[in-house]
């Protein structure tokens, strides 16, 4: 077997939760460390960012001018650049500022607005550089991260199916919260990966993994409206962690 692949973990505008999913691997962590060389990971090691990476995991959105520049350097030095989480793949919750009055937000939130240097929008990494693979989620699912690493080591394409969360929900044996309780749920339009965590606790899906393939958001919104949801309710449902993902953003815009 050749040298271990060199891994870098990079943070942009984000909460660090997706990076922590790597440390969360606990039982598998020793095997991961045995199989790959974690060369740069500020959450876990002191090493500096130097040289070439076989795999770069990028968390967070591009929200500052500095980030918009540094992502190009990381891309140039990485064989595979993989975005992890809702911020890196769609812009994250901070993309709620896109199209709004950012100066007003800053003055409302910060005591010294003049200390804040930010772009007017939060954008996914793929808007700036080519991305080889993306892991969805807010945060990403540990089992998908392990699958990504295992598949990369085995030399095959990772398996992170883009179908509806409903398939995971039904396989898990959860009772549909929408049909049996009338709870609004984004499961039918949301990318699988979390294992239908919220419906398993009798909550509707919040759409943390963003739009699934062929997401028919209009049909779901029509159904929610029949059940009494207002335009504002529907807009808010689609405007959370993946507010800037095109399918969700467009559906939110259709409701006001």
């Amino acid at each position: 077997m050749g040298a271990k692949p060199r891994l870098g973990v990079f943070k942009f505008s984000s909460c660090d939760g997706c990076q922590l999913s790597l440390l969360d691997c606990e039982d598998e962590l020793l095997a991961i460390v045995g199989a790959i060389d974690i060369a740069y990971f500020p959450e876990a090691t002191r090493a500096d960012d130097t040289g070439h990476y076989d795999i770069a995991l990028v968390e967070g959105s591009v929200t500052t001018l500095h980030e918009a520049k540094i992502i190009h350097s990381i891309r140039e030095r990485s064989t595979r650049l993989i975005t992890i989480g809702a911020c890196a793949t769609s812009g994250g919750i901070q993309a709620l500022k896109n199209g709004a009055d950012v100066a007003e937000f800053i003055s409302a939130v910060y005591a010294h607005p003049d200390y804040i240097a930010t772009l007017d929008s939060a954008t996914p990494i793929k808007d700036h550089v080519p991305v080889d693979y993306e892991l969805r989620g807010c945060p990403i699912a540990k089992h998908q991260l392990i699958e990504l690493i295992a598949a990369t080591l085995a030399g095959r394409w990772p398996r992170t199916p883009p179908h509806a969360t409903c398939m995971e929900c039904k396989r898990a044996g959860h009772v549909c919260v929408m049909v049996a309780q009338g709870t609004p749920c984004l499961g039918p339009v949301t990318h699988a990966g979390c294992g239908a965590l919220c419906p398993g606790y009798a909550r509707g899906c919040y759409g943390c993994f963003g739009p699934k393939e062929n997401a028919n958001t209009a049909a779901l919104a029509a159904r929610l409206a029949e059940d009494g949801a207002t335009g504002r309710d529907i807009r808010r449902l689609f405007s959370t962690y993946n507010a800037n993902a095109p399918a969700f953003r467009q559906e939110a815009q259709r409701h006001g």
Partner: protein
């Protein structure tokens, strides 16, 4: 039939069913039955009739399922979201594992599940669904050894329906509401926690003989027949099956496919809850250290693009229109060519558990140009 009733039909009460559950458990069966959980009736291990959803009934229509309390019957609910497919053909099934030992790849098949199970409360439509899956998994050129092992260990206690909901259409599929075959014991609930019981197999007869029963009175047989007639009479939804396969296969460009594609979420719920949908795919699970790997089979759905993805060519059925058409045409038309039967048993799960309430009977009627559904 003599004046003292039909000796093959006996009356049993809840204590008798408790005895049956105890006998089956003692004989090594895991006893599964209906329980109320998270607002629905699902199948889980039960220890006695105390676990059954007595006094609970369901209301169902397109995209809607609710439980409510009414009466004191044990089995007045109809069918819930989980079919017995979950037991016989589970969502995830390991197939094999491979290891590299001394430079050689060694493959070990996953062992089959030999646990014997007793299913309590299987409805006529569900017996029909099991018969359909038997054809798929056992009667073709290839047998599914995992299904075969689970199937061989079953003891089935059927329950004849005394009530139907809006989504039921077993009468038009000729599968119910009375269980005709494929059970060990069949029960029809009459009143006050009493049941008319009949054996459908030698095993069933032997177990029934061990229980406290008495021959059914003619009035009790009448009550049992009336209960089944009530269920049949309550069924308003129909699927006109005459000429249906030809209708579907000769209309691949019918505008109705575009219409349903507008409404369909392609979420795959219909295929997950369908008691006959059998499609699976396999995923590879690699060990992080060393060359070990496992193949795991899991429920798949023709509503995903991955399902028809061909290496180098993308998805064959990349539109929602083509995927709904595939599902419905297979279920109601080409299933006949493949397995000599319809793939639909009229349980109505795909209607109730579709989040937007798409109704296969209404779609079929629309293709025919008639007003559909119930």
């Amino acid at each position: 039939m003599s004046g003292s009733g039909d000796p093959a039909r006996v009356v049993i009460d809840a204590n008798g069913i408790d005895t049956l559950i105890a006998i089956l458990a003692k004989r090594g069966y895991e006893v599964l039955g209906p329980v109320r959980r998270d607002g629905a009736i699902v199948h889980e291990p039960i220890a006695s009739t105390d676990d059954l959803p007595r006094g609970w009934i369901d209301e169902q229509r397109g995209g809607h399922y609710r439980l409510k309390q009414e009466g004191d019957a044990y089995f007045a609910y109809t069918v819930g979201p989980s079919s017995w497919k979950r037991v016989l053909h589970p969502p995830r099934q390991p197939l094999w594992r491979s290891e590299i030992r001394d430079g050689e790849v060694a493959i070990e098949a996953a062992s089959v599940d030999t646990q014997r199970r007793a299913l309590i409360g299987v409805r006529a439509c569900e017996l029909a669904a099991i018969a359909v899956q038997d054809r798929v998994f056992l009667e073709g050129p290839y047998q599914d050894r995992h299904y075969a092992a689970r199937r061989a260990g079953l003891f089935i206690v059927a329950v004849n329906c005394g009530r139907a909901v809006e989504t039921c259409f077993c009468v038009s599929m000729d599968t119910g509401p009375e269980a005709r075959a494929g059970f060990d014991i069949a029960l029809t609930e009459i009143a006050n926690g009493r049941f008319v019981a009949t054996a459908g197999s030698d095993d069933g007869a032997a177990r029934l003989a061990e229980l406290p029963t008495r021959p059914a009175e003619p009035s009790e047989l009448d009550a049992a027949a009336a209960a089944i007639e009530t269920a049949a009479g309550q069924m308003t939804r129909t699927l006109e099956t005459e000429g249906l396969p030809d209708l579907l296969t000769s209309n691949p460009d019918h505008p109705r496919w575009d219409d349903v594609a507008q409404r369909c979420l392609n979420c795959a719920n219909c295929t997950m809850v369908c008691p006959t949908c059998f499609c699976t795919d396999v995923e590879e699970v690699n060990d992080l250290d060393g060359g070990g790997a496992a193949r795991v089979q899991q429920w798949a759905s023709c509503f995903t693009t991955d399902f028809t993805y061909l290496h180098g060519g993308g998805a064959v059925r990349d539109s929602v229109r083509s995927r709904y058409r595939q599902w419905m045409t297979h279920k109601l038309a080409t299933w006949h060519d493949q397995f000599g039967t319809s793939g639909c048993v009229g349980c109505g799960r795909c209607i109730a558990w579709c989040p937007v309430g798409i109704d296969i009977t209404e779609e079929a009627a629309a293709m025919r140009g008639a007003r559909g559904g119930g």
